[in-house]
Symmetry: C2
Subunit: 539 residues, 2 copies
Amino acid sequence: MDLCTMDLRITRQRGFLLFIFTCSSLLHGSRGEIPSKPTGGVTILPPIKPDNGPQAFPDAEKENMPVFTMNYSRIQIPFEITLWVLLASFAKIGFHVYKKITVWVPESCLLITIGLIVGGIMHSVHEEPPAVLRSNVFFLYMLPPIVLDSAYFMPTRPFFENIGTVLWFAVVGTLWNSIGIGMSLYAICQIEAFGVQDINLQENLLFATIISAVDPVAVLSVFEDVSVNEQLYIVVFGECLFNDAVTVVLYNMFNFVAEMPVVEPVDVFLGVARFFVVGFGGMGFGILFGFTAAFTTRFTSRVREIEPLFIFMYSYLAYLVAELFSISSIMAIVTCALTMKYYVEENVSQRSCTTIRHVVKMLGSIAETLIFFFLGVVTITTDHEWNWGYILFTLLFAFVWRGLGVLVLTQIINPFRTIPFNFKDQFGLAYGGLRGAISFALVFTLPDSIGRKQLFVTATIAVILFTVFLQGISIRPLIEFINVRRTNRNLDTINVEIHCRIMDHTIAGIEDLCGQWSHFYWKDNVPVVIASYHDAQRK
Amino acid sequence: MDLCTMDLRITRQRGFLLFIFTCSSLLHGSRGEIPSKPTGGVTILPPIKPDNGPQAFPDAEKENMPVFTMNYSRIQIPFEITLWVLLASFAKIGFHVYKKITVWVPESCLLITIGLIVGGIMHSVHEEPPAVLRSNVFFLYMLPPIVLDSAYFMPTRPFFENIGTVLWFAVVGTLWNSIGIGMSLYAICQIEAFGVQDINLQENLLFATIISAVDPVAVLSVFEDVSVNEQLYIVVFGECLFNDAVTVVLYNMFNFVAEMPVVEPVDVFLGVARFFVVGFGGMGFGILFGFTAAFTTRFTSRVREIEPLFIFMYSYLAYLVAELFSISSIMAIVTCALTMKYYVEENVSQRSCTTIRHVVKMLGSIAETLIFFFLGVVTITTDHEWNWGYILFTLLFAFVWRGLGVLVLTQIINPFRTIPFNFKDQFGLAYGGLRGAISFALVFTLPDSIGRKQLFVTATIAVILFTVFLQGISIRPLIEFINVRRTNRNLDTINVEIHCRIMDHTIAGIEDLCGQWSHFYWKDNVPVVIASYHDAQRK
């Protein structure tokens, strides 16, 4: 009978299913669950036999045929996932019904706020939060759809026109931020008054790497709302997607170094080697799976109903294989999407194409919503360690080094650019460096051997909330105030399109004549080579 | 070092990743996995240090910075699911490239055959099969998309015109089969020569219930290939979908009774009560979630990108809630789909509508493919108990009682039908009673307390393979031979459509005048009432 009472309490705590208690004859057993198994099932037995029980069950003390059974643990996982997704979807509907809010406050801020409220409620009833952002769930199930969405709908032409700048910011910018913030924080740690002398250089660098990762989710949701000009958008966009490689390498390197007594020169060399393995490895897998996907869709003309599945499966496989080898999975899925998109959309039917686009958008959108939502929830339900000095200086350094980095890096890259970044663009780049779920997930995966992990978690959350709320809310008025060039997309008429293409081909021809092969040559020739092979195969 | 060797062996057994061994410096640690955790990770360390190791790693005995790491256990689940889905999709492409095969052999048979081959390979290398059909995975993740697919694309008009016949076959037919086969098998068990005297009446009835469930997946895939006439199709279709309620009740009842010393009259009463709870409960949840979904889509006009998600979430929720209370989840999802479809397709955008239809079809199709495939795999990898007498008589009785049942039940229902079933239709109905994955999943969930569970498993597999292969392959030539009326769908011109509607309204009006309310009245008025409420809300 003790077991029954406990089970009842568990069920009561869960907050629903209360109406069940009115039923009088609830017995064990359910389809698909072996009744003899004693654990797992939330079984509800009549707690106290009432004296005036209903006449229909005259012998309820003996186990009769059950009219009504339930087994919550069996459906718990899919049920709770469905409920979370529905809750997030409702929030999204809510914001758009009251359109006035989202004009001033980015959706990400609203979602975090709702998450904070839900987290508060869950915390007050001692409900365990879902372990989404602390575990592999984030990297294995939430991040891939978001990155696939970003990559699939990436404006290809401006991206490849700015690829140099993108890589420059992604690689050098992230290194700059990590080392700058890490060193500065180490200097701060030497001040006795803050009481953080036990954090050594390696741990500071590790922490700095975590908060250097500019987050695609946070940044893009704000930049899309604000609709800044294409160059700015694509550089921040690209930086977010590609700094993953650098962050992963640095994170693993500092994580490894933090547990190591001495650092040898060979480790530095191996670190650099690892950077190339991570970056080009991810790219390689992406290209491989992208072409395989493009090739597979040539044979799907008779199985149109499962056509879109191949796109999702191959992208995901690229991501997973990259994760398997701890190389840049974001690089892999981005490259895969970019590689296959052109061919796939030619091969599949019109309906499949609509479905692919809609589903990619849908999954990305809901994963994004869920992440911000959980960010709020987990912020409340985590144990924090607050240290004014360390956290405030973290905020300051994160802001200052980002600003300095953009200033210096744009000065270096500007001479090589057709349209150089002006001061306003620099402001947009620096101010758009929002941190988000990637930092959050990375800080939770820190090994427990790091003494001040709690402090790092708190500081990371502070940086995320600071950048998402303060910068996220103020970026729109500021950009409007200083009059940053706004979007110039959606202006392409067919006339413009045709002239651009003719121009491209002409430049590529001139380059060919001169014997100087630049990106026009590659843009012009590589797809032609592949397409002609493709056409030859078709005949 | 022992651990390393063991890990290597595990990886080798898994059959891939062999090329990894060529790399010389593979160390532990991966993003998103706490390195200090010792279990779970498939870590690969250099097994034997070669004397002439590469010069780049001069001190490989000491742990250097890892250039290359891998962690299989972390991505195992999504990775293997993706691979299975891809394998099944390739099989589907393969059949359609060699179109000649599928004309004579139904796709389900081909898939089982491939499953048998893969199962054989897995068995020979002692690989564990995926526990898909033995566990809740089938009921929680594979069945819902299939049933949603069937229900969403169900031809509504013929279905409601034949609903009486459908319910008649679903309820009375399933009872007839279960009791008939169960009793006959019990009689066989009394013959000493077969050596199955230890199977009592309750166990025989339980087993008979399991193999009475006509499977929507098996039947529909054959009937769609053959394209029989609409009446026949819709009756078999409806029977498959709705006999779930009866099967679930009978299964739970006999399962309960099998462990019970004596059966009291009150248990029979409770069993009947449970049948109504299961059937109408499922229907109630379906209607509830269907209308909620329809209502929700009225507010999604600004969040078009997540619109389709609501359809999937609500249908799935209806299914899960029904599973929670062990009521007919198939009823719930079918009713939900039927209820919401009309309103949802009016509310959502054209693109969302295409996406919903395509995704429903896609998920249903791939789940179906996977089920047949796994059916083959698990058939090989299961331990069997073979008993000639019992299994042959099971096959015989399953066939005979189905035939007798159809004969008797059509004789009773024919006077009430506008188009009575002729002998050819009866043959189609009887011969189309294929058993499939539902029986398979149910027999595996039998409690271990049943002594001859192994025999029941083997007999169920025998019935499934017999019906799917022999009946499935021969049904097309036989139907062509006896010239069963073929499909009369796709004949509706707008003219026919308009006249049908006018006819419906006229009959409903005449019924109204006569004061006699039949199904024309309900068909005509119920949607009007809801639609006018709906319109009033919109203004």
